[in-house]
Amino acid sequence: MGRPATGRGRRAAADEEACVPGKLKHAGHLIRPAVVLLLGFALFLLVRGAVVPATFGELGHYRAASLDEIRQQAPAFAGQAVCAGCHAGVTAVRASGKHRAVACEACHGPSARHAADPAAVRHAPLDVVALCAGCHEKDSAKPKWFRQVESKEHSGGAPCQSCHQPHKPEF
């Protein structure tokens, strides 16, 4: 610190001599940094008031409008009810077999665009063998209740659909 030892001594003397208004007079320069700080703070409050998003804090510490924005996303999977709405026949077949709990889109893939414009957007043909194997290939980590086969030995290379009808796989 740059002040000489005598400075503190002088201060004591000055304290004794100076009356209160005199002291304040000599603290006048301190008002300046205080004004700078207060101006900065006021500016901050002004800017803050202007730029905090409108719905922030309505429902919690977040922008409430973001809930609706997130909901705007368009679904890619139409949902089982939509498929069944048009494809009643095959839905009925499926409902009578072991695949009754497997949703259409589990195999056929996302269909919302197809449902919105059935003529223009059509599904690509499925690779049935790969699709069957994806679930039913034998794997000791799969639960025991689940039907599994070693496809090579089970079919001898013949495609699954030559025996099984995918919408109702049991004989």
């Binding site: 998003p53 922030f56 429902l59 919690g60 510490h61 977040y62 922008r63 973001s66 809930l67 924005e69 997130i70 909901r71 705007q72 996303q73 368009a74 679904p75 890619a76 999977f77 949902g79 089982q80 009810a81 939509v82 069944a84 839905t91 409902a95 072991k98 695949h99 009754r100 709990a101 497997v102 949703a103 889109e105 589990a106 195999c107 893939g109 996302p110 994806g134 679930c135 290939e137 034998k138 794997d139 000791s140 980590a141 799969k142 639960p143 209740w145 689940f146």
Partner: protein, 249 residues
Amino acid sequence: MTISRRDLLSQSGKLLILAPVAAVPAPPRRASEDAAAGYDPSRHRWAMAIDIDKCIGCGNCVRACEQENDVPAGFFRTWIERYQVSGADQEHPKVESPDGGRNGFPPSSNSNAKEFYVPKICNQCSESPCVQVCPVGATFDSPDGVVLVDQSYCLGCRYCVHACPYGCRYIHPGRHTVDKCTFCYHRITRGLTTACCEACPTGARALADLKDPRDPIHEFLRVNKVHVLKPHMATRAKVFYASLDGAVR
């Protein structure tokens, strides 16, 4: 569980289509419920039921999530792990998740180990560490119990990625903001189920609404031995697992 399914089946003919064979039936999603207009968040509290004994590791959920939500390659909102636990050695299970299990798993033929698949997804914690640490309020707990991210507000500090004990968050390489499972918020608020649940062929996972007294989740929680992941983290996770092994972390 069969009882509950029968109850459900008797409720509506539509359920004949929806109800899976398995012990985790899809809840009666009100497909007719008008999405954008009629949704009241205060009437729902979303959760998920996962039955380990139903998961076959096919990867349908991972692919469906990708297709529904445009998940960038190499990152996962949901993924599947295969566990192999040998004997009493619960501490060192062999775990794999090639590409998040999106293309399934190479078949195993291990008769000596206990093996099973574990689907993972954001646990939509009620006491979310990720929400707690977000410095600006860009990630939050929605009124209906889903942890969401405001993509236009996230500054990409990555603190929440560290705070999540389950590894469910990642930084979107294109947006440079954090991304995570939304429980398909755009679907469930339209009366649909999540893409992963829609695509799951065995009903291993089912979206659940804890505020709906008719939701099968109540039966699921009552009948099964239920566990959540890392309960010692006290996050009050809302993804409930039936038959979860102690080796899973």
